[in-house]
Symmetry: D2
Subunit: 346 residues, 4 copies
């Protein structure tokens, strides 16, 4: 049996979630997220982020969350600024464009973009002779952590958000792996900082302990997003048995579960990182979260590939490829032990 | 505690499904529906419908299924013919229009449209002087059972499909409540008849025993739908942990579970129908499936409303309203006993 | 040679327009409507309507004008209320739906809808249990004159606009044939009344003397439509040599040309109406504008069809069809003389 | 009075076109391009390109032509490959994305992309693990001449088209300035070669002698584009008085007018090019068509800017900017004389 480090959604849900789902299974509740579990989960999240005016909506998946949020914030002629490597730019089959909006991709540095780049992109647009012939930058999308596991520092986020505020652009943080970012030893922000660093973000459940589910949080500090439930429904993202989302997030936000399982995942990832480092194997980027991108030779890939599943990521040169190893809340330390042993024998 | 007959998604999933989800929870599988559970579920469905060339795709919800199928079949300037009361026309927040297509609504008779109406709609279009100024009818959508619980006879379906074949229009059957249609004592078709009566249909799971999930079946007899997985992903309808859908449908299509739980629901609904009938209470339509639409006086609604939850449907006149009582796989006979007792006291 | 009463765009432009186009042909101007002719035309229109805060934009055609205005005013989950017979509902190949919005069609009475119908449609929406499952009414579209030549009275318009104001809905008047409405002897409004009776309207040029062109006027009294030029460009509706529109509208709004040529058209139409009336021939609707819809027998259609071109409109019964005769600024009185002579011989 | 070299649409139309428009002004014809002038213009173009099976459609402007053609050829999940500098990628306000499609931009070399780049882009897509998570390349768009005035050689076009044929991708050539490309002394293709080098192209009128208008030509050799008129109408691109387009293109394709006026424009552009070259002034790219992009110092720009209008294009460094000088069919040799004199004095 192969051991999988292929992605962070290989397993089902944290056992505590399965228990709650089973325990509540035959209860009768209203549909579409208007049940008491959703209400309680919303309150738990609002308390955890310390933002009483926030509104919280539960969606099933990340592409839905990204598409619904972005389509709700842009005017038809506006586009969304993001890193060239951003998930919405490369791995969502044009779901954003399908809603009519251009993705304005900027060159990424280790998966990140900077306040300066955003400022420049907007300045370039305004400097155009006839700006209406170009897509108007209408909001900014970043991922935390990024698609390659890196994280923005508090200062970087703060700079980006100040720039967005000055330019009147909503800032949206894709938190599909939010827990794994917050759990990083290099992370200098907390969940409660987020509402001060952006206008809307989502707390990823699918990759962090849930069967599925993303909690979209609008801080409502600068922008008043009316009628978001209409957007959700129109995008086909309103789950009939919405309580499944409420129950899951309520569990994740009880007893600090979300962060504690995230820490477990990151701890295992760093063990893997250290094992590769000890063998002087380089990395595509310097990641302190649950995704690690060592650069391996074809031979090393072949050897590790006999026992472990992991993903090819980027061809580096004729003989070397960056690959991805993911851990998650579900990663067994014994599986990592086995991987480390294999790395040491490389 | 109120007893709910409000809809057919008040509870979680059939216990057999919950058991399988728990039992497989920590297994590692590939994502996005490319795991062995999905493969087995696809085979089970293909066997059940007796259509070896069919392709089966699992989506999370009904709006997603409708939108993704319809957007995959229409050219940009085409619209979808449906009943005025069709779900896509009234209860999906314009999700079809959001993909760029007009819903061409025809007057419904007890929720149904006829082969003749379809033929006439297409003839009217072609008779236009300058048909390109109007939306071209590009496919037909019907629901089985309909939104008001009625069902098409085999002859009616056969007529509609012959017409669609002659006019080169794909026919799509929304089976959000398919089980409850097939389980009706008045239904003269079987699951295995469906591939001969349409080009694509879906087998509803959300309302028939699953936590969520709809199995879209393309018969591939007349139309070759390429690249449907791209459509699914673009619509935000590709579940990361796709196996959750595979496990659920595999369970529903083992031991005839899908039909047996459907029969239970219909049996309970007919008990309710008979109770109202015995009181000489009229119905909005003559339904033999899991939804019943008795026409009640304001006073009757008030009395029953003290103990039971049900939905207002259509105002009939100053003093009377058609309301909806739904049963499902989860309806307890004792709950129906209580309702019948209350009806008898009206 | 057949005499054409088929539509109101059979000829080119009013000679005064052709003269100006030729006279200015080799001048060099900026593109995209940023030339001095457009500026002057905008001022002439603003003066004619007496609404100094209005913004005026020139588009090439009616479908463009409708689509661009509507897409600029609606949120993604909103639809536009209109008459079932409205041009956007039937004769624009789903251009509105193509921008993602449902057309919420209400039954029309002689092409018109009422304030009460609008109020009821919105009330019905709000009364829904779960309004977010339905398209939200987001604006109202009416045509003046309507597609069947009828006109709203000042009182009717005023009632509709009051209702829209109370419901916070923008009101948009499609004025493709605006001149022919204002020129009607039954019309009790003037061009200068329009800014007080709606939020946006357009002054049709294509059918009223121009080669092409529609002047969209936002009153900016209630709604601030930002960045409309971006919308125009995105819709492919920004003419490179925008001055062609400016020159045409400047000419139409010099020396009262727009109204005087409209009056000519209506006068000729009423001569046709009276000729049919004298023969006791009924009409589909009672029109006092440039379109007349007599109900003719198959035999009468055949006889008139030998000499004149006109359009079939609506089948009335086995033997009778309503047909359309259009006049325009270009209709020669001699052509109408010939038609009247033929009618008298029927 | 400033002399304008700002763009190639500063003036009206070639006098021969104005004459024909005036001469035919009061004729009565059918609308929407179904008149005899359009029919004759279509035949004239089909004869000029020597492709009897081609279908020809007239649209008003370039953005319309690009959007309508691309939207008619792509499936919803597909994107269009083009140069990063391509008009559809930068100067159409996201009109392509507005129809739901991603623009897949490749790095351009002097405005051009290569067969190899296209091949690689498709190979990269297919090599993806889960290609359905990315937009599928569905067609290729190039401009001839490019946005910076360069032209593909016959060999380059032939290589690109062979690649597209092998990959089953439609190839679309944007010919907004087609005449100015064909008239270049470096051009080694003729109009009659085009149907053998792509699947669809358009012959630009707006910038080459017409008031407005683009003739879209589908060769119908590999792809059968059904129902294109529905697409045109839906995009708001169907001109009511369609004959205006027929008359213009009929004139342009009589007496070799299209090519002869194009040659005039190129001749004047090359005079400008030579004048800058004689002063050892560098160019952004090596253009042999009607657009020239000399790199000027701030001081030189200031001096020339006193007498001439031209456009800033790209900042090169602190002190130098590439600017654009355009000629057209309407450029007076005396205006170029004046410009050359000024250049010589720099």
């Amino acid at each position: 049996m192969m051991i999988q480090f292929q992605c962070d959604y290989n397993e089902g849900a944290h056992p505590a979630i399965m228990e709650r789902l089973v325990a509540t299974n035959m209860e009768q509740t209203a549909g579409y997220g208007e049940d008491s579990y959703c209400a309680r989960a919303r309150r738990a999240i609002i308390e955890a982020i310390g933002c009483p005016d926030a509104s919280v909506h539960f969606l099933v998946g990340g592409t839905q969350a990204n598409t619904t949020v972005i389509a709700s914030l842009l005017r038809p002629y506006q586009g969304v600024i993001c890193a060239h490597t951003g998930h919405i730019n490369v791995h969502e089959t044009g779901a954003i464009e399908h809603t009519g909006h251009k993705v304005l991709a900027l060159p990424a540095n280790a998966g990140k973009i900077s306040a300066l780049q955003i400022e420049q992109a907007v300045a370039d647009h305004l400097a155009e002779d006839g700006p209406e012939h170009m897509v108007q930058p209408g909001m900014v999308y970043i991922s935390f952590p990024t698609e390659t596991g890196t994280i923005y520092s508090k200062q970087q986020l703060s700079d980006i958000y100040s720039t967005c505020q000055r330019l009147n652009l909503p800032l949206f943080i894709d938190g599909a792996r939010l827990g794994y970012g917050l759990a990083s030893p290099e992370c200098d922000i907390t969940l409660a900082d987020l509402p001060h660093l952006c206008d809307v973000f989502y707390i990823g459940g699918t990759k962090v302990g849930a069967l599925f589910g993303e909690a979209v949080v609008f801080t409502n500090r600068r922008f008043d997003v009316r009628d978001f439930r209409y957007h959700i429904k129109q995008q086909g993202a309103m789950l009939a048995k919405g309580r499944l989302l409420g129950i899951q997030f309520l569990t994740l936000f009880s007893d600090n579960l979300y962060l504690s399982i995230s820490k477990h995942a990151v701890k295992q990832a760093l063990r893997i990182r250290d094992a590769f480092s000890r063998r002087d194997i380089d990395f595509l980027v310097d990641s302190s979260t649950n995704q690690q991108f060592p650069i391996l030779t074809t031979e090393q890939i072949e050897i590790l590939g006999k026992q472990f599943v992991f993903s090819p990521w980027t061809r580096i040169d004729q003989s070397r490829t960056a690959v991805r190893f993911c851990t998650s809340w579900a990663t067994r330390p014994e599986a990592v032990d086995a991987l480390i042993a294999a790395i040491e024998k490389l």
